[in-house]
């Protein structure tokens, strides 16, 4: 298959892509700052910011003092924690830099793997327009370091720089265990299909194991915590179905077409297919690994687009409309991803949550799981449930308690449940009221909140209402 001549000088195209991604990622941070100076995209951002601040102050990285639970060591805490730059500034700048660097390294890796110029350029564009890219590089999570580190490590690995790549890929588990598992799986794949020497692969795996073991012994690294899948991971797999850290239908469809077109050209590899299948299934349970799978999908989607362009179509108009539709669909999922990323960015919500900081230290707050990180960050008080509660033993019990409270109509038993669990504040936002938990103002505990004297509405705005239990 001949290369298509739709691109100019490769360096210029890459420079434009990098510049555009810098503008988009930077622009999104500016917009969220414009909404509220403390508003960030992705609820996990607040969690990692809080633990980074804790490290800055207490120099402890394996225990969450506020939530009173052990946490796993993560290299991310050290980045803002070891310098004097405020965590909030780091949380705005670092994702943008990580995103731009990842695009550059993705293209570099594709070049190292000897993809054709047109293939690697289209794949890079698709990677940059991928909803997972938007989510990953607008939130302050370990992935903003893990992804570029993994890409650089893989590129050096294929360039036979065994030691450097071994160290880079070896420390990857200290950023994200699911991400590193998919990267290690791709190292094994490279060994199987002969793209890398066996001793190189073994070196990488050994270094990951050694770094992991040493960190477990000396730094409080607890990989098993990250390997407990979130019960809601499967619910948000596609961005078009309101997923946030999610795949795009269109890129997945294009990747399947790309795979089929390679199959037709007899360039099939069972090992590659098996790797894709296994890593895709793994990513359904561990959202953090999706960004790596999306890179493979971007490559195959690029191949699909090239085969569509190069094919001799009977009706040229259909070809042009089809390409236009593909472009529209990719842009659509990109826009939806941005929309979804902004769903929880609101001044009113932050104001409501900030109000909770007037409570007494030690009081526990209840709200939806997705509000947990924000509540702990802004109020400095303990959330009853949050986005990583599922990693701890008492999760099922806490969810049962939360549901009992939400649907309670009996004041006496409600008060005793609240007292037993130390819950003094309940924060209700619009999403909870509009179907997530209740469908109307009188349903379940909302009825008691309105009519029982034991509860006082202490804050209300267009987005949130905060009730306090007067025990």
């Amino acid at each position: 298959m001949k290369a298509i001549k739709v691109f100019g000088k490769e360096k210029n195209v890459i420079a434009i892509i990098l510049l555009l991604s810098l503008i988009v990622l930077g622009g999104l941070q500016v917009i969220s700052y414009g909404v509220h100076e403390k508003a960030f995209m992705g609820d996990e951002t607040y969690y990692y910011m809080r633990l980074s601040e804790q490290y800055q102050e207490e120099r402890v990285f394996d225990y969450d003092f506020l939530q009173e639970r052990p946490v796993s060591f993560n290299l991310l805490y050290l980045v803002p924690g070891t310098n004097s730059v405020p965590v909030e500034s780091t949380a705005r700048i670092l994702p943008v830099l990580g995103g731009v660097l990842s695009i550059f390294l993705f293209h570099y890796l594709a070049r190292t793997l000897k993809f054709r110029k047109d293939e690697r350029l289209i794949a890079t564009i698709i990677f940059a327009a991928n909803p997972l890219f938007v989510y990953t590089f607008t939130s302050f999570t370990p992935l903003i370091i893990g992804v570029p580190l993994g890409l650089a490590g893989m590129a050096l690995f294929f360039r036979k720089k065994t030691w450097v790549s071994g160290i880079m890929l070896g420390v990857l588990p200290l950023l994200s265990v699911p991400l590193s598992l998919v990267v290690l799986l791709s190292v094994i794949l490279a060994m199987i299909i002969g793209s890398a020497r066996k001793n190189q692969g073994i070196m990488v795996i050994l270094s990951a194991v050694l770094v992991g073991a040493a960190s477990w012994l000396f730094l409080g690294f607890r990989p098993w915590l990250e390997l407990i899948p979130s019960p809601s991971a499967m619910a948000g797999v596609f961005v078009e179905l309101a997923g946030v850290q999610a795949y795009s239908f269109i890129i997945l469809a294009l990747a399947i077409i790309g795979l089929l077109s390679l199959w037709e050209r007899n360039t099939k590899s069972v090992a590659v297919l098996l790797f894709l299948f296994l890593s895709f299934v793994f990513s359904l349970f561990y959202a953090e690994s999706r960004i790596i799978v999306s890179m493979a999908l971007a490559v195959y989607a690029g191949i699909a687009i090239i085969s569509i362009i190069q094919r001799e179509w009977n009706v040229e108009a259909i070809k042009n409309i089809t390409l236009l539709l593909i472009l529209c669909s990719v842009v659509f999922s990109f826009v939806v991803a941005i929309d979804n990323a902004f769903s929880d960015v609101s001044t009113e919500k932050i104001q409501g949550i900030q109000y909770l900081s007037t409570s007494d230290p030690g009081e526990v707050m209840l709200s939806a799981e997705r509000n947990g990180f924000m509540m702990s960050y802004f109020s400095g008080r303990k959330s009853f449930v949050d986005g990583i509660s599922h990693r701890y033993e008492e999760y099922d019990e806490r969810i049962n308690v939360a549901e009992t409270i939400y649907y309670s109509r009996n004041l006496e038993s409600l008060e005793s449940t609240l007292k037993d669990n130390g819950i003094s504040y309940v924060l209700v936002d619009n999403r909870m009221r509009q179907g997530e938990v209740w469908t109307g103002d009188n349903e379940g505990v909302l009825f008691l909140f309105r009519h029982a004297n034991a509860f006082v509405k202490i804050f209300e705005n267009a987005e949130v209402v905060v009730y306090r239990h007067m025990s």
């Binding site: 239908f249 089809t322 179907g435």
Partner: protein, 504 residues
Amino acid sequence: MKKSTKLLLAALFLGSIAIRLFIAFQAEGLEYEGYGVARQVESIRETGIALYNDELSYGGRDRVFSPVYYYLLAAFSFFMPLEIVLKTIPNILASLVIPVVFFLSMQVVKNEKVSLLAATFSGFIPGFFNNTINNASIYTAVIPLFFLTAHYFLLTNKDSKHAYKLIGCIILLTVLHPSSLVLALSLLIYIAFLKLQRFRESSREPEIVLFFLFLVFWLNAVLYKRALSTHGMEVLWQNIPGRIMEESYTQITLLGSIYSIGLLPLVLGLGAVYISFFEKKRKHVTLMASISLTVFILLWFRMVELTTGLILLGVSLAALSAYFMNYIYEYLKTVKIRHAHNIFLVAILGVAVIGFLPNTFLAIQQAGSVPSEKDMDLYLWLRENTEENSTVLVLPEEGSAMSYYSNRKNVMDEDYLLVPNIDRRYSDVLSIYNERFLTSALQKLNYYNVQYIAITEYNHDTNNVSRLMFFDDNCVQRVYPEMESDEFTPEAYEVKCIIGETRQ
């Protein structure tokens, strides 16, 4: 095409319209479902905009839908009375399935007599005929367009000069209704079958399928973005309450579904599938078989509404039946009995007519299931005697009809998309009529902000509800009719209490 065939085809088409209109005009008004369409058309006629923000449905809510069909009907409503438009235009559109299936069959068998017979089957498939006469159903436009797209798909494979007609059909079908997803899926299965059966692949087929897939994906994603993000994967079930979905599938028996599809199309269509897969491979037949198979799979996994699925299955099998009839017809030409092939066709026609007659009576009966005169009086009383912003409780089936005549808010109607906790609302609405205790009834009534409860003749006939058990003169007072009578008459109650206080 012979002149006699043209005449017969025209007669069939006009005959179908005549029968449909005759049945439709037997009843005054529309079937309950039709009033949802009537409200949309009326809104377009008055404001130029469809009811995206419907103040009466579910007490006021946003809707997502494609407005194309409503605008088409609204265009006619400018020079015809609304009720006439809603009775005539959908029936003319539905009858178009006859010429469409005729031309589709002609591509498969090149036999005008057989194609005419297949077209006859398609026009009178019981599931399609009975469910699209007096309810202004959108399927009257969707079904002919669905098969016209399939027809142009086959034509474009032969000659690319039809490509633009195909593109037009594809775009129109996609913006009209999400059923385009079923066709896109069928075409994918068709391509897979071509590979499996090792047909010589036309280069146009994958191109058109690719184009169709991307168009369907993009347009539906844009049109139904809100529904997709609200319901996720469950949007496939259109947020239909689980109980309704369950009942529609459990209530229908094997015989019921055979009846809905039509025995002749089913037997002859399955015969065609057998012949095309195991004896004489034909590409055109494979397409129709792919459509049937896709719909069957979707029905099996309950991913399509039962009635819609059975209509699509019935019409695709009717188109397929041409192939099997032609197979027998050609075989009978070679036997020694004179005119055996013609006798065969006459016999088939005879069986079809005999089967059609009882179905017509059933259709007349069904088309007559419109709001009764007494119910209409109640709706009009509500319009004249209740506050403009008030909410009236009726059954979900009656919601649109009540809002249409009374101009009052309903608690629930039959458009379920975007409604949160639909199962709970559905069971609440049904259970209020059977509540024994005032407090628990009031909790629900207050929750849905209900000011009036209507017990209609329809509710009485279907659920045997004649009176509210919890009514008392303080909180839930009967306001219609003024005089009590021994026989059942529709009633309206006013809800005067809110738990904890008394409504002014």
